[in-house]
């Protein structure tokens, strides 16, 4: 295997909520172009890890490196500028805005016109606005929402709202995409559409994906490596088939008796 750059690396990442240790000693290395899954039972601290990676929580201890650069404790929007994008477990779209506008907001940090250009509508303004509209439409095309561009975001059906979140995350021009339960609440058809969509994205952008998921069939199918956490501690990591037969993992998910019976 050729040497690939390490995109994300965490060292002894930990988070405390009051006296509760939500995440403890979380270490992971994700190589360029990999698709890594993070699984664990409810309340095991998966989303907390994502929140720390994107600066929503400031880590209690430990360090985060993105492409070798330390990003621990940075503000969220700074981290997004460094090249991490994320979606949310409970959908957080800009409901009152149109689908296209939702994606356009992600370009805000790249837009180089100022108040003067805004006020006098200089050619520069129109040029940039047209550019980001084209780019936003490209992002929508990838998730097959280009025909819904003028719809209000909250009027979309659930599955498409999830896809719109992915499109919005894609628009930030990231190196690492964090997907927090992308298939939650989806029916099997929508899930298989989503899998095709994720494959598409990987092929087109050559990006690294780190995802949390409860749908085991999806995780086993698409993830190249999996890390399992329970009560904030990493209990296993490895390839999907290793994880599927790991007694600790089965115990965490199904209880001790299941292991004895297995």
């Amino acid at each position: 295997m050729s040497e690939r750059a390490i995109v994300l690396k965490t060292e002894k990442l930990g988070m405390m909520f009051g006296g509760l240790k939500a995440v403890n000693d979380f270490n992971i290395e994700i190589l360029e172009g990999e698709l890594v899954g993070l699984i664990g039972p409810n309340g095991s601290g998966k989303t907390t890890v994502f929140n720390m990676l994107t600066g929503l929580h400031i880590p209690f201890e430990g360090e985060i490196y993105l492409m070798g650069k330390r990003i621990t404790g940075m503000k969220t929007h700074k981290i997004i500028e460094q090249g991490i994008a994320r979606t949310f477990q409970n959908i957080r779209l800009f409901g009152e805005m149109s689908v296209l506008e939702n994606v356009k907001t992600s370009f805000t940090k790249d837009v180089k016109y100022n108040l003067f250009d805004t006020m006098f509508r200089t050619p520069k303004y129109f040029q940039i606005e047209k550019d980001i509209e084209d780019k936003a439409m490209d992002c929508l095309r990838i998730v097959h929402l280009d025909d819904k561009a003028a719809f209000q975001a909250k009027s979309l059906p659930y599955g498409q709202q999830r896809k719109l979140e992915i499109a919005r995350a894609l628009a930030t021009d990231m190196k690492l995409l964090l997907l927090d339960e992308p298939a939650a609440g989806m029916n099997p058809t929508e899930t298989s559409e989503l899998i095709a969509c994720i494959y598409d994205i990987r092929k087109k952008f050559n990006i690294t994906i780190f995802l949390i998921e409860h749908d085991m069939s999806l995780v086993m199918k698409i993830c190249e490596r999996i890390q399992v956490i329970n009560f904030g501690n990493t209990i296993a990591h490895g390839f999907p088939n290793e994880i599927a037969h790991n007694p600790d993992v089965i115990e965490a998910y199904l209880g001790e008796e299941a292991v004895e019976n297995a």
């Binding site: 009152e96 805005m97 296209l100 805000t108 805004t118 006020m119 003028a150 930030t172």
Partner: protein
């Protein structure tokens, strides 16, 4: 390519029609102003309407588009008004300017300059206040801004050079009329296009602001601040910027107010009082018109002001039975009633987040398909 050419042709047509409409409006205005009776009634209405439109639209930037409830908007107007009045008074004391005899260009220059100075001072103070205050959200921010508005009012009232009840030393509230920025009704009629033009420019700027990346960013913050941050938007920066711009225009409105009245009292710029010059009234205006619609704020400003005008001056009120007249003696009751009715039937205000667009009106069918605006 033909599609693009079609689009730009439509833009040109829209602009031509807009200019034509503007000319017609100005013509009608100038005809009605040439009549002495109308002029006496119309001129103060126009000045006040311009001020209310500026206040309503600028508050809508923070309340409607940014989604932060602020209750001290009049405080910034007060800063603008007093700064404009005091600076013009200083010019006059220095012997550089007399409102009654100043040549037109100089008078316009002083009016514009002093109003802008007031706007800038209001902007700077709001910036200093916004940096700590905008860390808070919802009710907490409302309390902070409410308190801040009252502080501004009281500080101004106790400034030695602003007087207790008015401007200049002591209580000489009439001084401003005689020799300050305040201009008499004859000059107000002569320069009636000054507030109109200023308001059009300011509202146009706000419209441009809300339809650009800034508008998208602040609407995103209103919808979901965490998601906005996760889309790479520096929420703190855009919140403070919008708050400052909003206060800037409130300060400008204050400058216009200082020009159009003979005396200033701090009671005008408070949270609630018996007249319509208070923060609550502006908040009601924004809610009524629709939070997130500048058009709505303009309509509500005109509607509410005219309603107040009718209640105060209308012959029909005097013709009503005694019982109803005694209700109309407390106009706030009626505004509350109007607000309740509107919120019951249109919970998002008259216009919601809908903006009037001449272009959409003209080319309704073909523009809809292109998108950009939410359906």
């Amino acid at each position: 390519m033909t599609d693009l050419r079609k689009k730009s042709l439509r833009g040109v047509i829209t602009n031509v029609i807009m200019v034509a409409l503007l000319i017609i409006v100005i013509y009608i205005l100038s005809v009605s102003l040439s009549d002495n009776n109308y002029r006496l009634k119309l001129v103060p209405i126009i000045w006040h309407l311009c001020i209310f439109i500026l206040l309503g639209t600028s508050l809508n930037l923070t309340m409607g588009f940014l989604g932060q409830l602020t209750l001290g908007h009049m405080g910034f107007m007060g800063i603008g008004a007093y700064t404009a009045a005091l600076s013009s008074l200083a010019l006059e004391r220095a012997g550089l300017f007399i409102a009654k005899t100043a040549p037109p260009l100089q008078l316009i220059g002083v009016m514009l300059g002093c109003s802008l100075l007031g706007a800038i001072v209001a902007g700077i103070i709001s910036l200093l206040m916004g940096i700590p205050a905008l860390r808070m959200r919802g009710d907490y921010l409302a309390i902070v801004t409410l308190g801040f508005g009252l502080i501004i009012e009281n500080v101004i009232a106790n400034l030695p050079f602003a007087g207790g009840n008015g401007l200049a030393e002591g209580t000489a509230s009439a001084n401003l009329y005689q020799n300050g920025l305040g201009i008499n009704s004859r000059l107000q009629a002569q320069y009636v296009y000054f507030p109109i033009l200023l308001t059009i420019i300011c509202v146009a700027f706000m419209f441009m602001y809300t339809t650009s990346k800034y508008g998208r960013a602040i609407k995103a913050i209103r919808e979901d601040e965490i998601a906005a941050n996760a889309s790479g938007i520096n929420a703190t920066y855009y919140k403070i910027l919008t708050f400052t711009i909003s206060a800037f225009f409130a300060g400008l409105a204050g400058g216009l107010y200082a020009i159009s009245t003979s005396s200033l009292t701090t009671g005008t710029f408070t949270f609630a009082n018996s007249s319509i010059w208070n923060s609550t009234f502006i908040v009601v205006m924004v809610v009524l018109g629709g939070m997130g619609s500048l058009t709505g704020s303009i309509i509500a400003a005109i509607g509410m002001y005219m309603l107040n005008y009718e209640i105060k001056n209308g012959a029909w009120v005097a013709a009503m039975p005694q019982f109803l007249q005694s209700i109309f003696a407390f106009p706030m009751l009626i505004y509350a009633f109007v607000l309740t009715i509107v919120i019951m039937f249109k919970p998002f205000g008259l216009m919601g987040t809908y903006e009037f667009s001449l272009r959409r009106l003209l080319f309704r069918k073909s523009e809809r398909a292109i998108g950009g605006e939410a359906k």
